[in-house]
């Protein structure tokens, strides 16, 4: 081979090698690019954008893709995703979804990812919301418990100077503040079955009623449950302290009604204080009243959970995102924007959480209680709500409605008791 030809061949080979190398680099870069899919329920919060930008900056090659799901459509959308095998890597879930999705093996148990230090940083009661049968299927995202709120000016105008201490006093105060149509004494979002359960369950516990008895058997028609539903619905039917439109309203509409000055008292979340203050009204959270005989003084611990789906192809990266959200600065961003109570130990000591109204919620921590962990909880909760609806629409008496619910659930539920 002549030298000139040899040089040409070498140059050609070198060029080919460069092209091949560049192509490989591009391919390698392309393969390193990962998209982390996250589904959020509720509104498009500002904090989501901050998290996405910060996480992507800290993890070159990673794109965080969001999907927003309205709260009301959450269960339906997730069920469709699971059925179609098209789940995101991570999802914002209601705590009531955990048992069902865990049983359906749609979620990853995070125990193998969670280091002891990670676990210790979550408020135990909040982390318990994501636990099912000894495994942790998510981490707490937002906690927004419900307690009674009262319009202090209306209370004083009604001649009452102390917050009600019993459930009978709650009903009495609602009657005294009731000046329809300008102001209603009380508000319940009867239109959405889940909200009937969620907002009012502290009152239900106060009457000694619960969805399951102490042995874990379904007990929606217990005498205590009948007494509770009778009193609650009589506030609507007899006392008329709730607007007729409560039949179709949901809890969010009740919050707005109180912030607009149309409601004297109701159960609400910490954000209610600010909502009222924006309209120059003083709405204060008050401790749950003492229970009736046989009842319990409990505040519902409501925790929305962040879970990892079993179909995720980026489990390590997904857990990295969970750890990222656990940082105090990220937690506080979320809590401030949403108005939530702390779910991690590190932020709990921050002055923000020691101010009203959060301190009033935190003061009730010892009374926190979760809803039952049952894989068909949605069915039970919706059935309960519909049973109450049938009473307020005058179709059935509390006893008949709850007996019918008990019979129906006994037939419909795969296991009509709490899983051991």
């Amino acid at each position: 081979m002549r030298p000139g030809r040899t040089v040409k061949v070498l140059v050609l080979l070198t060029l080919l090698a460069v092209v091949a190398g560049a192509t490989g680099l591009v391919a390698a870069t392309a393969s390193a690019a990962v998209t982390l899919k996250v589904a959020w329920m509720g509104g498009n919060m500002k904090v989501y954008k901050v998290w996405k930008e910060t996480f992507e900056a800290e993890n070159p090659g990673v794109t965080v893709e969001y999907q927003l799901i309205p709260y009301a459509e959450g269960p339906t959308v997730y069920n469709t995703m699971i059925q179609g095998g098209n789940t995101p890597d991570l999802g914002y879930l209601f705590m009531g979804m955990i048992p069902e999705y865990a049983e359906r093996k749609a979620l990853v148990a995070l125990d193998e990812y969670m280091k002891p230090a990670d676990r210790a940083n979550w408020v135990p009661a909040a982390l318990d919301a994501a636990e099912y049968r000894g495994k942790v299927y998510g981490v707490p995202l937002i906690a927004a418990n419900r307690t009674l709120y009262v319009r202090t000016d209306l209370m004083k105008a009604a001649g009452v100077h102390e917050a009600p201490r019993t459930w009978a006093q709650v009903r009495d105060l609602a009657r005294k503040m009731n000046k329809p149509p300008a102001v209603q004494g009380f508000c319940v979002g009867f239109g959405r079955p889940k909200h009937i359960m969620q907002e009012q369950i502290s009152m239900m516990w106060g009457y000694g009623a619960d969805f399951f008895d102490k042995d874990g058997r379904l007990a929606v028609n217990s005498p205590a449950a009948v007494r509770y539903v009778t009193d609650l619905t009589n506030m609507f039917l007899q006392d008329k302290v709730m607007a007729p439109s409560n039949v179709t309203m949901n809890a969010n509409e009740c919050y707005a009604a109180m912030a607009a000055g149309k409601v004297g008292m109701m159960f609400s979340l910490p954000g209610q204080t600010k909502m009222c203050a924006d309209n120059k009204l003083e709405c204060l959270p008050i401790p749950n009243p003492e229970p009736n005989a046989g009842g319990q003084k409990n505040m519902l611990l409501i925790v929305d959970v962040f879970g990892m789906f079993a179909n995720s192809r980026n489990k390590d990266l997904a857990y990295k995102f969970i750890q990222f959200l656990q940082r105090p600065e990220h937690r506080q961003l979320m809590d401030v924007e949403f108005g939530g109570v702390p779910v991690t130990m590190k932020v709990g000591s921050d002055p923000y959480y020691q101010s009203a109204p959060l301190k009033d919620y935190i003061a009730q921590t010892s009374t926190l209680k979760l809803t039952p962990k049952h894989p068909e909880w949605t069915k039970i909760q919706d059935g309960w709500g519909e049973a109450v609806q049938k009473v307020i629409t005058g179709d059935l008496t509390p006893e008949k409605s709850l007996n019918a619910l008990q019979d129906r659930l006994m037939k419909q539920l795969v296991v009509p008791s709490l899983p051991k």
């Binding site: 339906t76 007729p244 069915k379 609806q389 629409t393």
Partner: protein
């Protein structure tokens, strides 16, 4: 040559047949199959016809079926009677009728969900335009709870659905009316026929093919009308406005109970098939 033509014919209908089998035949068979299983979080269990027999004792199913029949009948009646009436008014070509036709197209073109949300606000007891209007002209003293009471909620959803659906019926009848030769009416006028006689002896018989099609699709579309009930009442209060399709959706995607949801879907399918066949038999004539 004939054989080649036959082969070509088979080749030509193959894509359509494959489409029908894949997107209609398979889902129907799969739904039928799923209806024989009890589905839950623990998986599927074959139960034979138990899902069907349990419907007989299911009070909610009886309520939903009754609601669906009332909903369908009311929708179809309103659509056909008023749709035909409006079509007769618009069949004369005037500036007003041209304008009305354009307006009707706007109602028809509005997506159902958007229309449903808009109507929900119109009927809102607290902030709704309807109550505001009625209060301002002093027809009512206090806001009416349109969506709170089962009957008025049903009526509200019915009005909203009618608003969205009747333009189609109107245009269908309008096209049928315009296809009737004007000479027939002229001849009838010469013979001294009254307007009522002309309508009964010319318009109605010659509209029969359109009527058949309109009735058929109106029944099917009304029965399967999901958006207005879902958006405006979500089936409430206490399931009193729940209809078959919203209940199928609730059981399937709300509670993951695809066995029961499929059973309801099969019942709906059979019901619609029977009604469609009866309608076809009643209205079919050899000239159509």
């Amino acid at each position: 040559m004939e054989r080649r033509m036959r082969i070509l014919a088979y080749v030509l209908i193959t894509p359509a047949t494959a489409w029908l089998l894949l997107f209609f035949g398979y889902p129907i068979l799969d739904t039928l199959h799923t209806s024989l299983f009890k589905t839950s979080y623990v998986g599927e269990r074959f139960v034979g016809l138990a899902n069907y027999t349990s419907l007989l004792e299911d009070d909610l199913f009886h309520l939903v079926l009754t609601n669906t029949i009332v909903w369908t009948l009311a929708n179809v009646s309103l659509n056909v009677v008023l749709g035909l009436g409006v079509a007769l008014l618009l069949s004369r070509s005037t500036r007003l009728s041209e304008c009305a036709r354009t307006t009707l197209i706007l109602a028809w073109a509005t997506p159902f969900v958007v229309a449903g949300i808009t109507w929900k606000w119109i009927f809102s007891s607290e902030y709704g335009h309807l109550n505001s209007l009625l209060l301002s002209v002093r027809l009512i003293d206090a806001p009416v709870q349109w969506l709170t009471n089962a009957h008025s909620a049903f009526l509200a959803a019915l009005i909203a659905r009618f608003w969205s659906a009747f333009p189609f019926t109107t245009f269908a009848f309008l096209s049928g009316l315009q296809a009737i030769p004007a000479e027939l009416y002229e001849a009838a006028l010469v013979d001294g026929a009254t307007a009522r006689q002309r309508f009964r002896s010319i318009t109605l018989p010659l509209l029969r093919p359109v009527m058949t099609a309109v009735l058929l699709v109106s029944v099917i579309w009304s029965f399967n009308s999901f958006a207005f009930i879902y958006v405006m009442t979500a089936g409430g209060p206490a399931n009193k406005t729940q209809i078959m399709v919203t209940e199928i959706f609730r059981r399937g995607f709300g509670y993951f109970n695809f066995g029961e949801a499929s059973t309801l879907a099969v019942v709906a399918f059979v019901f619609l098939t029977v009604v469609s066949v009866i309608q076809w038999q009643l209205f079919y004539r050899e000239e159509f």
